[in-house]
């Protein structure tokens, strides 16, 4: 499944047998509502933890951060985990500034998911 959201693209790949949601582009007030819908749709379809690769996200503002908080809460309500992977330093710093770097499970790559 894939979808274009303005300057944002979301697609699903398989890495080491696990489905991974890859997000590319900029996550802001314009793109985050559609991203939220796409992530929730994918969360309902994919099994196991929801692995979201953000290495292709070049920009994220508070709208994007809020979207990730919302999706994490919904995924956990369904008894599953959400794991963020491959954050660019700029995106990671936004999570740190908002004190959310400890709220999310963040790993560098899929090999760290099992230990997270």
């Amino acid at each position: 499944m894939s979808g274009n959201v303005g300057t944002l693209q979301v697609k699903t790949t398989t890495t080491d047998g696990a489905p991974v949601v890859n997000v590319h582009g900029e996550v802001d007030m314009q793109t985050s509502p559609r991203l939220r819908l796409l992530l929730l749709e994918l969360a309902a379809k994919l099994g196991g933890p929801l692995l979201i690769d953000l290495s292709g996200v070049t920009y994220m503002d508070s709208s994007g951060v809020g979207t990730m908080v919302y999706v994490k809460r919904e995924v956990e309500r369904a008894g599953r985990r959400l794991v963020l992977m491959g954050l660019q330093p700029r995106v990671r710093s936004v999570l740190e500034i908002t004190h959310l770097d400890k709220f999310f499970t963040i790993v560098r790559n899929i090999s760290e998911v099992a230990a997270s």
């Binding site: 303005g6 300057t7 900029e26 802001d28 007030m29 314009q30 920009y59 503002d61 508070s62 709208s63 951060v65 809020g66 979207t67 908080v69 919302y70 954050l87 660019q88 330093p89 700029r90 990671r92 710093s93 936004v94 740190e96 500034i97 908002t98 004190h99 959310l100 770097d101 709220f103 963040i106 790993v107 560098r108 790559n109 760290e112």
Partner: protein, 155 residues
């Protein structure tokens, strides 16, 4: 650096304009001699300010006016800096009431004000003459929030 340069832009309250605004202002700030991380911080602060205007001052109504002005400044003690002003013509609020949520209360929303403050030296809110609000953000070249530079390791 052209110390007299002033950037003035007018846009409408359509979120689709945000990427172009970020690009346009970012290029202008680069030309003023700021470092790449600082450019990212200033652009993020501006993005948050305009997003707040669209969301709160105009309550997501499109086609409303937003004016953006960026201007180099010099402070006797802090040195060279940049002042960004965002003017809207929407709902006026008491500046004392503008504050982000408690960061320990994890939920979507309420983070823009925190980010603006972290990205700059100062953020001021003023009721504007004739209606609306004026947001003034100042950042000096000695200031960095470390966006893009603080942490590169996963955990």
């Amino acid at each position: 650096m052209n110390a007299t340069a002033v950037l003035q832009l007018e846009l409408t309250s359509n979120p689709r304009q945000l990427p172009r605004l970020r690009q346009r202002v970012g290029r202008w700030i680069v030309a003023q001699g700021w470092t790449e991380p600082q450019v990212g911080e200033l652009v993020l602060a501006l993005d948050e300010a305009v997003t707040n205007v669209i969301r709160h001052a105009y309550e997501n109504r499109p086609h409303q006016r937003i004016m953006v002005c960026a201007e180099p400044i010099v402070d006797p003690r802090a040195g060279e800096g940049l002042e960004i002003r965002v003017r809207d013509f929407g709902r006026q609020v008491d500046p004392a009431q503008i504050q982000g949520r408690n960061l320990d209360d994890v939920r979507p929303g309420g983070l823009g004000v925190h980010i603006m403050r972290a990205m700059t030296n100062a953020v001021e809110y003023h009721p504007a003459e004739g209606g609306g609000m004026l947001v003034i953000m100042r950042k000096f070249k000695s200031h960095t929030a470390g966006v893009g530079a603080r942490v590169t390791e996963g955990r």
